[in-house]
């Protein structure tokens, strides 16, 4: 039996905007089991990204409890959450977010460095293997500006998987890519996910992408519904 890796209990999130309190999430609860792939869908402004940033520990809920890997992150401070992220969480962003002054290889090894893995050779080997896996062998020394959008996102995939995270969060990973490139990136994402047994949480507008996940959560008016 699979165990719960992310557990969300009745969380709410409100922000103050122009002196008005705006309720974005209004009491959401669900569980995600280890190894599951979950898509979060919803209209623009429904609170998908807010939910994801709470799950990933980038932000704190207004109330409620979030546990990741059995630890309550909603009560952790900034530094503790940063440590948790560096140890167990990977990210893929819509706009890639590679460091412009680092080449492809260095961008991929960066999470290892942040984690404190100081063995440069082993870091480089792991990174090279992953770059090869995403089809960028021989492009290690290229800077982000020398790579196309699809290539940059593939570097970002390699970067996300290099630490073998327990959970991978992907925020509209194909939002900035054309259809064909997007398809390629998606294939890679799911292949690597399957290979590493990572739990995948994906925010997307794309129903086809959502279909490839085992579960889909739909956010609407601050509430969460499991799609059939």
């Amino acid at each position: 039996m699979s165990q719960s890796i992310i557990s969300v209990e009745n969380i709410t999130k409100s922000v103050i905007s122009n002196d008005n309190e705006l309720s974005i999430l209004k009491g959401i609860s669900f569980n995600i089991n280890a190894g599951e792939s979950v898509a979060i869908m919803g209209t623009s402004g429904a609170g998908k990204s807010t939910l994801m940033s709470l799950l990933a520990g980038l932000d704190q809920p207004t109330s409620g409890k979030i546990s990741i890997l059995g630890e309550t992150i909603s009560t952790m401070d900034d530094e503790q959450r940063a440590k948790m992220r560096s140890e167990s969480i990977g990210f893929v962003f819509q706009n890639f977010l590679l460091i412009p002054s680092l080449n492809a290889l260095q961008n991929v090894t960066l999470p290892m460095v942040l984690r404190g893995n100081e063995d440069e050779n082993s870091n480089n080997e792991k990174a090279k293997a992953l770059l090869k896996e995403v089809g960028l062998a021989g492009r290690e020394t290229h800077l982000p500006t020398q790579l196309s959008g699809g290539e940059q996102q593939r570097v970002a995939l390699a970067r996300a998987f290099v630490t073998r995270p327990k959970i991978l969060f992907a925020d509209e990973p194909t939002g900035n890519l054309d259809q064909k490139t997007a398809q390629h990136v998606i294939e890679l994402l799911f292949a690597m996910n399957k290979e590493q047994g990572t739990t995948l949480v994906l925010v997307t507008h794309d129903p086809n992408l959502a279909k490839r996940c085992q579960r889909t959560l739909i956010i609407n008016d601050g509430q969460c519904q499991e799609s059939a």
Binding site: D59, L102, L110, G149, D171
Partner: protein
């Protein structure tokens, strides 16, 4: 450790890719300027004080009208000080052909203790000391006596053979009226002359060398008697006034260059922090701790400081060397060492400016929230690092606390800025209301749409232009004033002791030889004895050691009209039984218009009423007098006459001809000295011009950086226009119009501000006359447009690339 290696190499790339290199350049510039200028200033100061000592012939001189007390000599020797004594008196010297009044200086073999003595015998080899039995005479005396080296002349009772001429001696007197030809004999020959007897007027000097503290102790432990005084180089500071102004200019320039570099530093840092906040958010989302980020950022800061220090110091030393080249004739071969002081000072300045400029935006960068990678949020930045601003403020107050000029510039800058930036902004707003071509109205609407941004740009641009203008114009105004002081046609030969009978013929002869001359002045020696019936001996001013005019005879003259080169600052040159007085003496003695002054010449007492007060430029080498009487007061008193004229180097035969025709007239040939002073001025001019050029360069670099930063921040917007289909021409026209308008208005604002600050600086700071600078009104906007042109050209290609 490998992580650190990676951080170092990454930081290095971050500096170049992340546009932090202008920060490094600005830091380097600050350090280079501070090192170069403070080294030079220190060296020049040391040289000046060495020269001051050379002029005194020692570190400290004891002067007395009585023989030097042996106790003083013993005290000095016991304290380990070097001493040398001199006695001097005036007597007649006789050759076979002629006789002449001379000043005899009898010195010891170790004379001079400071400075250079250059004696030349027939061999032409320089000789540095006077030995017993020797006689050295000034060249002028040789010709006056019609004698040659090897001849024997009589000085008092002694018959001495002339060993050669005095080529150069310290203790040069710069008073054309009291100068009587010199000769040197050794102290052991003094008695032979028989000149020193009871009642003879001999003046004694004791030259003393040693470290400052021991000298000060000696001075403190000795109680001065009547007729005794101490002289050290601080008192002989007339020549130092020129240097003082140069030094003030130097420190002002350093400050302005630092100011400009600081602005570059702050702007680039802010720009960097804005651009990097996304990267920091991303690193945080991947789990980077604050400690790691701090390490990452501080490595960058450290690298920049280290590189800037190494590059800046080397550049600074090179710069100092280059600035020194034109000064090579003034500075001695062996330069006084300056130690590490300039370097420490430079590091201090760089830290004071660099730390707040770098750390405030970088600490804010640490606050960039991780969530920004997914959702842009407004961030509350902590203000904890603002205390760093205390660094430069404290330093400024400590170093420049009492410097009027500096505060004038700083406060003036601030006030003018707010005023003028507002003014030009209003002007731009007004312009927007008028009808313009498409490009101009787009540009104007763009400027007016983001007023805060536009104002920042406008003030930064205008500010740097203004500093550039100030650096250059202060230099020109200062130098202009110095050049006037010693105009190229200033008189350089003085003829004195012209008898009334000779006067007419003498002047005619000077005119026939076509030597440009001054008016002739009668010279009557006398004293001022009473001010408004109060005897001057009883006055307060008489007790003041600094005021000597009441204790000695001075030169009076009379005139029908006041010399044109004396500016009358109060009163009018009219009336009978009147006198015109020089303003500084008037204020020292508390004399005002209408005061009744009493004078004594050869036991004859007479009075005159003060009718005017004049400003006199003593350094100008023109005949000048403290008191000028109306003709009726003194014209009947016995007088000799003086006239000054200008002779070029190739006119020496003419000067000699006059000297032969009028052997009783004393000629003071100041050409060597005047040439030396003029040469000195020329060299200082050259150095200051180089310095000012450097300042201007720093300013232009700042403007260039500013514009490039501002343009690169527009990239996204321009790319959008481009993507929406705006033609390249339309975009570049708009950019041209926008930045052109900014440049022109900034140029005008800068010109107004510079004119105002310059006026205040010259009037209250340097105390020099002021004038308007019409060329600047044209040059500044043009310069601004030119720099805009270069900056635009350098980035426009990049800007016009369409989005990929």
């Amino acid at each position: 450790m490998k992580t650190n290696k990676m951080i170092v190499s990454w930081s290095w790339r971050e500096i170049w890719f992340g546009q932090l290199w202008p920060v490094m350049v600005a830091l380097t510039l600050i350090i280079a300027c501070v090192v170069a200028l403070s080294t030079l200033a220190l060296r020049v100061e040391k040289v000046m004080s060495n020269q001051g000592r050379a002029l005194l012939a020692a570190d400290l001189v004891f002067r007395s009208s009585n023989p030097i007390p042996t106790t003083l000599i013993e005290q000095a020797e016991q304290a380990g000080l070097t001493v040398s004594s001199q006695s001097r008196f005036q007597t007649m010297a006789f050759s076979d052909a002629n006789m002449q009044l001379v000043t005899v200086k009898s010195v010891e073999s170790n004379y001079p203790l400071r400075g250079e003595l250059d004696l030349r015998s027939t061999t032409g080899q320089p000789i540095r000391e006077v030995k017993p039995g020797e006689l050295w005479v000034s060249e002028r005396l040789l010709s006056l006596l019609d004698a040659n080296t090897g001849d024997t002349i009589a000085i008092g009772d002694a018959e001495l053979k002339i060993n050669g001429v005095i080529k150069y001696e310290p203790e040069l007197a710069y008073n054309p009226f009291n100068s009587i030809p010199n000769l040197f004999i050794h102290g052991s020959d003094l008695d032979k002359t028989g000149a020193v007897q009871v009642g003879s007027r001999v003046r004694y000097r004791l030259f003393i060398n040693g470290d400052l503290q021991t000298l000060a102790n000696l001075q403190a432990n000795y109680e001065l008697q009547a007729g005794e005084s101490w002289v050290d180089q601080n008192k002989e500071s007339r020549a130092a006034r020129l240097m003082d102004k140069a030094k003030q200019y130097l420190s002002l320039t350093i400050l302005m260059v630092i100011l400009m570099a600081a602005v570059t530093l702050i702007l680039t840092c802010l720009h960097y922090a804005r651009n990097r906040s996304e990267t920091v958010s991303m690193l945080k989302s991947m789990g980077a701790s604050r400690a790691w980020l701090r390490l990452w950022l501080s490595t960058q800061v450290l690298i920049m400081f280290v590189v800037a220090f190494v590059a800046g110091s080397s550049l600074g030393l090179l710069l100092e060397y280059l600035l020194r080249i034109p000064l090579v004739d003034i500075l001695p071969k062996e330069l006084p060492s300056v130690g590490v002081q300039p370097f420490l000072f430079a590091i201090g300045v760089a830290l004071c400016i660099g730390l707040p400029a770098l750390l405030i935006p970088l600490t804010r960068l640490l606050d960039a929230p991780a969530i920004n990678v997914i959702q842009k949020r407004e961030t509350q930045y902590s203000k904890t690092s603002w205390w760093l601003l205390l660094l430069p403020i404290t330093a400024l107050i400590t170093f420049y606390g009492t410097n009027k000029l500096v505060w004038m510039v700083l406060i003036g800058l601030l006030v003018l800025f707010v005023l003028l930036a507002g003014l030009s902004y209003g002007l731009l707003k007004l312009l927007a209301k008028l009808k313009w071509s498409a490009a101009f109205s787009l540009a104007l609407s763009r400027i007016n749409r983001s007023p805060r941004n536009s104002m920042m740009q406008l003030s930064a641009l205008a500010g740097s232009l203004m500093l550039v203008a100030l650096i250059w114009l202060i230099k020109s105004d200062l130098l202009g004033d110095w050049q006037q002081t010693l105009a190229p046609d200033a008189p350089n030969v003085f003829a004195i002791n012209i008898s009334p009978e000779q006067q007419e013929g003498y002047l005619k002869q000077v005119d026939t030889l076509e030597l440009p001359r001054s008016d002739a002045f009668a010279i009557i020696r006398g004293r001022i004895t009473a001010i408004n019936d109060q005897n001057t001996i009883e006055s307060e001013a008489y007790q003041n050691e600094e005021i000597r005019i009441l204790k000695r005879e001075i030169n009076f003259t009379w005139a029908k009209e006041l010399p044109v080169y004396n500016e009358v600052v109060a009163g009018e040159w009219t009336g009978e039984k009147t006198v015109s007085i020089e303003q500084e003496v008037a204020s020292e003695l508390g004399i005002t218009l209408g005061d009744q002054l009493t004078f004594e010449v050869n036991s004859q007492i007479f009075s005159a009423t003060v009718n005017s007060i004049r400003a006199v430029e003593w350094q100008s080498l023109k005949p000048n007098f403290v008191f000028i009487f109306s003709e009726d007061v003194v014209a009947d008193l016995p007088a000799t006459w003086m006239v000054s004229f200008r002779a070029e180097t190739d006119q020496t035969p003419l000067v000699n001809q006059i000297a032969r025709e009028y052997p009783t007239v004393t000629l003071l040939d100041l050409r060597t000295m005047a040439n030396k002073i003029q040469g000195l001025l020329k060299q200082i001019t050259f150095s200051l011009t180089g310095l000012a050029g450097l300042g201007v360069l720093a300013g232009i670099l700042l403007i260039f950086t500013l514009l490039r930063l501002s343009l690169s921040e527009r990239k996204r917007e321009i790319t959008l226009y481009r993507t929406l289909g705006a033609s390249k021409k339309r975009i570049s026209n708009t950019l041209w119009a926008e930045y052109g308008l900014l440049a022109i208005s900034a140029g005008l604002v800068a010109a107004i501000a510079a004119e105002i600050i310059l006026f205040s600086l010259m009037t209250w700071g340097f105390e020099l006359p002021t004038q308007l600078h019409p060329t600047m009104w044209l040059v500044l906007p043009l310069l601004a447009v030119l720099v805009v042109f270069v900056s635009l050209i350098s980035v426009i290609k990049e800007l016009l690339k369409p989005l990929r």
